[in-house]
């Protein structure tokens, strides 16, 4: 497989990989590194890749596993520390300004979700995957995906309403 051919296969879903990585790792740089790593892994496996009929699902699964490993590893310790720093109640002026934008509220709320719910809501509401695809990707049953999704959506709604009310008061 040539480089251009490889890029044609990868191009349609590379943003999806990045968005999933960013949802899980939060940091933009971390997500970029992760995506690059995944694309390079795919490139080195390009001979095997032609055998897969759904490269996108395979790549998404790789991204998911890679990011979860990342979060478990030592490096992620630092990452989480930084992350919890800026969701702290004593916010800097800059983050206050950021948070005043209700869209970034949603982003912050989603950061607080457990990893599985993060992935489910990302794959469904942002990427519009079908339940079966999500179930296969995450190794869950369809019902479990529905339950997790419902919980995630409700949590986002509740927290959004909460923040909204505080804003008014």
């Amino acid at each position: 497989m040539q480089q251009t051919e490889f890029l044609n296969v990868v191009l349609p879903f590379k943003d999806k990989l990045y968005r999933l990585a960013k949802r899980l790792l939060v940091s933009k740089e971390e997500a970029e590194d992760a995506t690059q790593e995944i694309l390079m892994k795919l490139w080195s496996k390009k001979k095997v890749m032609t055998g897969y009929n759904n490269v996108e699902a395979y790549a998404m699964m790789m991204t998911k596993n890679f990011c979860l490993d990342r979060l478990k590893s030592k490096q992620a310790g630092n990452l989480k520390l930084v992350h919890s720093n800026y969701t702290d109640d004593t916010m800097s002026i800059q983050t206050q300004i950021e948070v005043s934008d209700s869209l970034s509220w949603v982003e912050k709320i989603m950061e607080e979700l457990p990893e599985q719910q993060k992935m489910v809501i990302q794959l469904r509401d942002v990427e519009q995957y079908e339940f079966e695809e999500i179930a296969e990707l995450l190794g869950m049953s369809s019902t479990a995906v529905r339950v997790a999704l419902s919980r995630a959506r409700k949590t986002v709604r509740e927290k959004l309403v909460q923040k909204h009310n505080y804003g008014i008061q």
Binding site: R19, K22, M40, E107, R153
Partner: protein, 140 residues
């Protein structure tokens, strides 16, 4: 779209029983400006999903590091073979040249030897001559 319909959809949305198409309807609905007040609280959520989908991966990925590694090792091997080849080739050449010189010298020396032999033969005649001449002198 009627509000009641949207409300029903929303209810099912939070139970996660809507289809992808129905969720698309919701997203479209909440991207509008004129949302009734009691539904407005849901708007940021759907708007965020649309915005989040716009995010792009812009970093350039350097492809083909693996190939390079191969080429590097091949070139290292090629260079070392070349150096060894030159080294051994040269010593072999030197050996052949030395042998050739040796053969040439041997030939020259044997030529000299045969000519020398011929010379001594002639000298032997001379001696004969000298001896007879001495005899004659002695008689006198």
């Amino acid at each position: 779209m009627e509000y009641s319909n949207i409300e029903k959809l929303l209810e099912r949305y939070f139970e996660a029983t809507t289809t992808v198409a129905e969720e698309e309807v919701l997203r479209e609905y909440f991207s509008r400006e004129d949302i009734p007040l009691h539904l407005k609280k849901h708007a940021p959520m759907f708007q965020y999903f649309s915005v989040a989908k716009e995010e792009r991966f812009t970093k350039q990925v350097p492809l083909k590091p693996r190939k390079n590694r191969y080429i590097k090792w091949i070139s290292v091997a090629a260079v070392s073979i070349l150096i060894f080849g030159i080294y051994f080739g040269r010593s072999y050449q030197e050996q052949r040249e030395a042998e050739f010189a040796y053969q040439e010298t041997k030939k020259a020396l044997s030529l000299l030897a045969t000519n020398l032999g011929r010379g001594t033969e002639k000298v032997a005649y001379l001696r004969e001559f000298e001896e007879t001449k001495q005899k004659i002198y002695n008689r006198n």
